[in-house]
């Protein structure tokens, strides 16, 4: 799929290229790992980019670092400790922003619903985030974040629609191309679409022959539906899926990029996701959360398997995170 000339997206490749040196001092260059067993199962050469091993346990740290750096750079007349950022999230993005702010000396205000699990609040605190509680409704989250921004002058860092965040997530493509000799396809889990959009733009520039596939839970298939209808179609209601990190719908900034760059969207069932998660834990000895297992499940799915092997031989799968509640595993 080709973007028509003159179409502008919320980010360009230049944004991504500029993000790389910005975040390099802070992020981990995560390894790419392989597994003969999974290669046999998939009948492909699979290359797993281990963002579960990223700081704060997910790729979100990349985007958060870029966004926080931009806040510091745009406010040169203030010292870092006079600056702050705010976001509303109880998941990986909350932890990522907390640590990204801490390492740059900036304050992070994290708006979290009162009923967020204690373990998540604890994780945010441990990374230095300051929690501001809100009611467990979408409206309250947004309103409370707005209030914090007004009161403290904090800059909002949206988890997946912020251009700086999207550009930050995309930096993993530079690393992948250093680490994997030949890339025929990249399989990327999709929630809000920040990672998918960023990777799409970077891949088009850096490895234009590689096809980018989105992987999504069937139970939260707004991206698949939007892709088929060629029109942004958010989920009508909060979805029920074990992929707690993929419950958001793609948004107005990420959708056009996805529409024009992604080859296809592969949806997988809850059972396929659980099986893939257990497979990676048992055979690769890597702890991945259900959202990461979506990419693995997609590669093992009938739909992907029916793609021509010759042109889809070397497949990169993003293992996007490993923040999982060990007290609450899907197979127990």
């Amino acid at each position: 799929m080709m973007a028509s000339a003159g179409k502008s997206y919320c980010i360009s490749f230049q944004h991504i290229r500029a993000a790389l040196p910005t975040i390099t001092p802070f992020v981990t260059k995560t390894p790419v790992m392989t597994s003969s067993h999974l290669n046999q199962l998939a009948n492909r050469n699979l290359f797993f980019k281990c963002e579960n091993l990223q700081k704060t346990g997910s790729f979100k740290f990349r985007g958060a670092c870029n966004a926080v750096s931009k806040v510091v750079a745009s406010n040169q007349n203030q010292t870092a400790n006079e600056l702050s950022v705010v976001t509303h999230s109880s998941g990986n993005h909350a932890q990522a922003v907390s640590l990204a702010a801490k390492v740059q000396g900036v304050t992070a205000h994290i708006v979290m619903p009162t009923n967020s699990p204690a373990v998540k609040k604890e994780a945010v605190r441990s990374y230095g985030g300051q929690i501001v509680e809100c009611e467990p409704t979408e409206q309250s989250r947004v309103d409370t974040a707005d209030q914090v921004a007004k009161k403290t002058g904090a800059t909002m860092v949206h988890p997946n629609q912020s251009p700086d965040v999207i550009a930050g997530q995309a930096t993993m493509v530079f690393e992948i191309l250093d680490q994997v000799e030949k890339v025929d396809a990249i399989v990327v889990p999709v929630g809000g679409g920040g990672m998918l959009a960023g990777i799409s733009i970077a891949a088009k520039e850096l490895c234009p022959h590689a096809k980018v596939y989105a992987a999504e839970p069937k139970n939260a298939d707004d991206c698949a539906v939007s892709f088929t209808r060629k029109e942004l179609t958010p989920l009508p209601a909060p979805p029920i899926t074990i992929c707690d990190a993929l419950k958001t719908s793609i948004g107005p900034n990420t959708w056009p990029i996805i529409r024009d760059h992604v080859e296809d969207v592969i949806t997988v069932t809850e059972e396929q996701i659980k099986a893939a998660m257990r497979l990676v834990w048992e055979r690769m000895k890597l702890i991945i959360e259900p959202s990461s297992a979506v990419g693995v499940a997609a590669v093992l799915s009938d739909k992907f398997q029916s793609l021509p092997a010759a042109s889809h031989q070397n497949v990169v799968v993003i293992l996007c995170g490993g923040n999982v509640d060990l007290d609450n595993l899907p197979w127990m």
């Binding site: 091993l53 048992e282 690769m284 000895k285 490993g322 595993l329 127990m332």
Partner: protein, 360 residues
């Protein structure tokens, strides 16, 4: 995979296999190829590294800022849970079988062992990759998933009643019947030199390394790693880490003589229940600076830290090094250590048992 019928019976006169309960001396292999039950040298380990290249993984060294802060120093985790077959044991098994094949000239014999743990899986996989049949004697009570893993790797599982005597006798019978050579999990020079190869990798992967710590069960890994470190950089301090409940190696080091436990100890670190063996002992006595013992709670705490903070599947035996580094006794002893390598030895465990192994 080679069929049994393809092998001619190798005369057992060539192999003096002396079964002596758990302290099985693999004298058979020791008399082949290296001119006697000789000392393993760094050169042997370097040759082993050559044999393993392209077969065993050069596993990554991973780091974690949170754990550095807890330990008060930089920690470098050599991730052997990511090794083929899920533990470092693949190195020793592959090296030993490779040498066997080289020495055998024509038709290499099958191999045999008794194990319900990582060595069983490692031997089965290594044998399969080298085109040799592996017979693995396993007690009937061994976890089903372990038996299936061994079979999945192409190993031939022979079950026996769960007593030490039955394991050894069954193995002896198979060895005679199939002309199979016994490969010990830790008490053979080729296994020790195979395990030592991870030390060569560490020296390349971690500049300014000053301390290394590995779990110790039979002692094959500690023997191999310590001899390499002291040969190539004697300033590096080498520690073993052991459950307090299975502290035979620590006692031996303190007493200056091998002191095996007379009972089979209970500890969640199931891979470390066996005694340090007679072949590994002299290397440990000569090269190891100390052995640190940790409690079951310290093991569970280390498990929880690694699973939650490092996102790695590591079995209880595998986290002993971290438990030791976080212990008061290590902190008191090693105020100077700045760059500490910890071997995460393996990640084979039953996921359904996880709740019992963590301190949540």
């Amino acid at each position: 995979m080679s069929s049994l019928a393809a092998f001619s019976r190798v005369s057992t006169r060539r192999f003096k296999i002396n079964f002596h309960l758990l302290g099985v001396r693999a004298c058979g292999l020791a008399t082949m190829g290296d001119g006697g039950a000789g000392k393993v040298t760094v050169q042997d380990v370097e040759k082993a590294a050559g044999r393993l290249a392209g077969h065993a993984r050069e596993t990554p060294v991973l780091t974690c800022g949170t754990l550095d802060a807890l330990a008060g120093r930089k920690l470098f985790f050599k991730s052997e849970n990511l090794q083929k077959s899920g533990s470092f044991k693949f190195r020793g098994a592959f090296n030993a079988i490779s040498r066997l094949i080289t020495s055998a000239n024509q038709n290499p014999p099958p191999v045999v062992t008794h194990s319900s743990g990582n060595h069983a899986c490692a031997l089965a996989l290594a044998a399969h990759q080298l085109g040799v049949t592996a017979h693995v004697v396993m007690p009937s009570t061994a976890p089903q998933c372990k038996k299936e893993t061994v079979r999945g790797y192409g190993g031939n599982v022979i079950e026996c009643v769960p007593t030490e005597q039955a394991r050894v006798e069954t193995m002896e019978r198979i060895a005679q019947q199939e002309g199979a050579v016994y490969i010990s999990s830790s008490q053979h020079p080729d296994v020790i030199s195979g395990q030592g190869t991870m030390a060569l990798e560490l020296l390349r992967q971690v500049p300014d390394l000053d301390t290394v710590i590995t779990p110790v069960g039979g002692g094959g890994m500690l023997a191999g790693v310590s001899l390499v470190m002291k040969a190539l950089n004697p300033h590096i301090r080498v520690y073993g880490a052991e459950p307090e409940l299975a502290n035979d190696a620590a006692t031996s080091l303190a007493q200056g003589k091998r002191c095996p436990l007379s009972y089979y100890p209970e500890t969640i670190a199931d891979g470390l229940r066996i005694n340090m063996g007679p072949v590994a002992w002299p290397y440990i006595q000569e090269h190891v600076d100390d052995i640190i013992c940790v409690t079951e709670d310290e093991i569970k705490n280390a498990m929880t830290l690694i699973w939650q903070r490092m996102k790695l599947v590591v079995e209880p035996s595998g986290v002993l090094g971290l438990a030791a580094v976080l212990s008061d006794s290590f902190k008191a002893r090693e105020q100077e250590a700045k760059n500490v390598a910890i071997i995460l030895s393996g990640g084979n465990l039953d996921l359904l048992k996880l709740p019992e192994l963590l301190s949540l």
